[in-house]
């Protein structure tokens, strides 16, 4: 079936929904395609909060927020983007409140705020209360609120439509083509639909499932990134992948930084608050990359609990009231998944793969960049975790992802509305869906080959071991090589389910293909970057090297070879790079 509309939004997480809402308010006919029911999107998992310098409890300024973002990103953040983020965060959070979001309240009835890692006053002096929150369900409330407002605005949703290809007019993105639509696979019955539009937004979230220990949902397979990458769009800064310090031991489920924001401490086997040795001022509230590295080093030096590969997060001293009122969900996770009672005992934690700083490169209006020179792909937009603006630079601060969704999701919607006005629908061939149709048919009908699970298991183990918190040339070159092999094996993969009705086997196997693409870009970009910056820590190059590496990586896909890597300078407006200490 073929459907014409003005704008297409792929995904229904926070970024996508705000864009869709903006488009609806502008009266643009929009189709929102999502492979999950919107409220199942992973934005709902975000716990801790969304930062905005409201100053409801203590003095705060957007400049401080901007500074923290840039410094937290180890000066790789584009400062024009960080400025937009910090300024507009305030308006967006207020707007969310006007949409009905049930924030926690101060005694005066204002939005309550709390501390979060890396957020400081006076340019790094001391922690500041900046994270606006709704218990530890902030993401859930944002997702619900935006979806509710979309229903109110009459947004058209195509639920459980899995986008499998992007369409262009006049050649792929690298050939100067213009985005023309998407091909989507309706999960319920396997029917393929072609959607045509003047503007397409990719807001498909991250790719944390490339790792084994991860906080990410099964569905986070880098779909949007990989689909764009295959159509000639580069991927920016893929080597910067965040490991969150406090994943539930063995499973990776996240225990929010809010636990530390409220005063929770990290302990090693000697019961020592080891962060004192790594970040004496901010302690547990140092940025995530530093805390994760500190934990990794503690474990490597044999100070893990019982000498094993985990440490303790202790909140028991915070008292029942704080724990039950402000941290209800994470206490629940500890009880359910570990059988640990956080009111009394410390919780076993280990770093967990969490967030992609990199992704599809965009400008400040969420328009997708074609290459490192800043040329645009007409009609194509990206926002949210799938995109790289880049505000987060080499390391994202806690809560800044939600801010990113709100600020740049809205900007995407605004820019798209502008874009579609007056323009004509692109031309696409009647059989534009043929290539992906053929791919899917081949996968569905292939008789012999390898099951995807073994490949998936090998990939995730490989990423854990070789593309983790600490890296070096040996690890990374092995990773690059092995991922190449896995990609070859993937070309011969078979599925067990050959039906058309709700064939998750088929789609999950396709997702594995997306993950392999993202993993390859990540490993290759990491191998090339010979310095340590933010979340990218090379043991063979332990220092940051601004002279050579103050630049964004752009990885271009090549069919049977390693990606082509090129570099783009960082935008620096207010804050000159300085050593990063906390």
């Amino acid at each position: 079936m073929r459907i014409d509309t003005d704008a297409i939004v792929v995904g229904a997480g926070g970024a996508a929904l705000w864009a869709a809402l903006e488009l609806a308010h502008e009266g643009v006919q929009t189709a929102v395609l999502t492979k999950l029911y919107p409220t199942r999107s992973h934005t709902g998992a975000a716990q801790g909060g969304v930062c905005a310098a409201l100053g409801n409890l203590e003095e705060d300024h957007w400049e401080w927020h901007m500074f923290d973002t840039v410094k937290g990103g180890d000066y790789l953040s584009d400062q024009d983007a960080a400025e937009v983020l910090a300024r507009e965060a305030i308006e967006r959070v207020i707007e969310l409140e006007h949409m009905g979001l049930p924030f926690n309240r101060t005694p005066e009835g204002k939005i309550d705020q709390r501390r979060f890692g890396g957020h400081t006053r006076d340019f790094g002096e001391a922690p500041v209360k900046r994270a606006c929150y709704a218990a530890d369900r902030t993401g859930h409330m944002i997702l619900q609120t935006l979806y509710q407002q979309c229903i109110k605005a009459g947004v058209r949703f195509y639920d459980e439509y899995h986008v499998v290809d992007l369409l262009f007019e006049g050649g792929d993105a690298n050939e100067g083509g213009r985005a023309a639509g998407v091909v989507a696979y309706r999960i319920a019955d396997g029917e393929i639909h072609t959607f045509r539009a003047k503007a397409v937004l990719l807001a498909t979230g991250g790719y944390g499932r490339a790792w084994r220990i991860t906080s990410n949902a099964y569905s986070l397979a880098g779909d949007g990134m990989a689909l764009a990458y295959r159509r000639g769009v580069p991927l920016e800064d893929m080597e910067f992948y965040q490991f969150h310090p406090t994943g539930v031991y063995g499973i990776g489920i996240l225990l929010s930084e809010a636990a530390r924001g409220e005063g929770g401490t990290l302990l090693n086997r000697d019961g020592e608050r080891f962060m004192a040795r790594y970040a004496p001022r901010l302690m547990e509230l140092a940025p995530r990359d530093m805390v994760s590295r500190a934990m990794y080093l503690e474990i490597r030096d044999g100070r893990g609990i019982d000498g094993k590969d985990y440490l303790f997060l202790d909140v028991s001293h915070l008292g029942r009231k704080v724990i039950e009122e402000k941290l209800p969900d994470i206490t629940d996770f500890a009880r359910i998944y570990l059988g640990v009672e956080p009111l009394r005992e410390p919780v076993p934690v280990q770093p967990t793969a969490h967030y992609a700083m990199g992704g599809v490169p965009t400008d400040l209006s969420a328009r997708v960049l074609r290459d490192e020179t800043g040329a645009l792909v007409p009609g194509l937009y990206a926002a949210g975790e799938a995109a790289c603006v880049s505000v987060h630079g080499a390391n994202r601060l806690g809560t800044n992802s939600l801010v990113d969704l709100l600020v740049f999701g809205r900007r995407a919607g605004k820019a798209m509305a502008e874009d579609v006005r007056g323009g004509t629908l692109p031309e696409i061939a009647a059989d534009a869906d043929e290539p992906v149709r053929a791919e899917i048919e081949a996968l569905r009908t292939r008789a012999v080959g390898e099951r995807p699970d073994t490949i998936r298991a090998e990939m995730t183990r490989l990423m854990d071991e070789k593309v983790g918190v600490f890296r070096d040339a040996t690890l990374l070159s092995t990773a690059v090589e092995r991922i190449g092999e896995l990609r070859e094996r993937y070309a011969r993969v078979v599925v067990a389910d050959r039906g058309t009705t709700f064939n998750t086997d088929l789609l999950e196997t396709r997702e594995l293909g997306y993950l392999l693409d993202c993993a390859q870009a990540t490993a290759a970009s990491a191998l090339a970057r010979k310095e340590s910056r933010g979340a990218h820590s090379r043991e063979d190059y332990p220092e940051r090297n601004d002279a050579a590496w103050l630049a964004h990586t752009f990885a271009f896909r090549r069919d049977d070879a390693q990606p082509d890597l090129r570099y783009k300078p960082v935008s620096i407006t207010r804050f000159e790079p300085k050593p990063r200490t906390y």
């Binding site: 709902g44 489920i253 359910i336 599925v495 067990a496 086997d505």
Partner: protein
Amino acid sequence: MQVDLRILRYDPERDAAPHWESYSVDAAPRDRVLNLLQSVKDLQDGSLTFRRSCAHGICGSDAMLINGRNRLACRIRVEQLGRKVSVAPLGGLPVVKDLVVEMEGFFEKYRSVMPFFVNDTPTPARERRQSAKDRERYDDTTKCILCAACTTSCPSFWAQPSYVGPAAIVQAHRFIFDSRDTAAEDRLEILADDDGVWKCRTTFNCVTACPREINVTGAILEVTRAIVARHG
């Protein structure tokens, strides 16, 4: 340990009717039912079909009938169930395939209760104020993840699929009791419909089913009382 897992399977392209299949699965006590299903899918039968995403009880994808009760497969540990585990799709909704049910009707009911904030008065420059007490008033029902475990555990819903169901009422409750919202009257009117709150028989299955531990019946009765009060 070895778990004896029974799954009610159905593939419309192959089977005339749903049927039970047994699998023996190797599991650790802390494994969740979702791990068991994933293990069957990975190692025994790749065509086993179920929804899941977040794997930790916040997205609401994997509500199913486990050992006779609706629960999230990702939140119930094997050790809580014992060696015999049976899994079937949610009741009262059409089965699409295996453990996947058609959710559209459920979401349609959700949408029918105006599940969105309404306040058309001019927006202030800053946030609207709300006291912590007023915020607390509707806290419980903001937690809902639309997993449908409640509605599909309700005998009244099984009997009358037109019943709007506990989940939709919970969602309406969240706004009706929000001091900032101005459309409570409209929602009360919608829920005073024949298929509204009256069909609740206080069976409390929804409360035991809810993975978010929402006092669903309490919320329904609060709405009922508000409707009754509204009519004097």
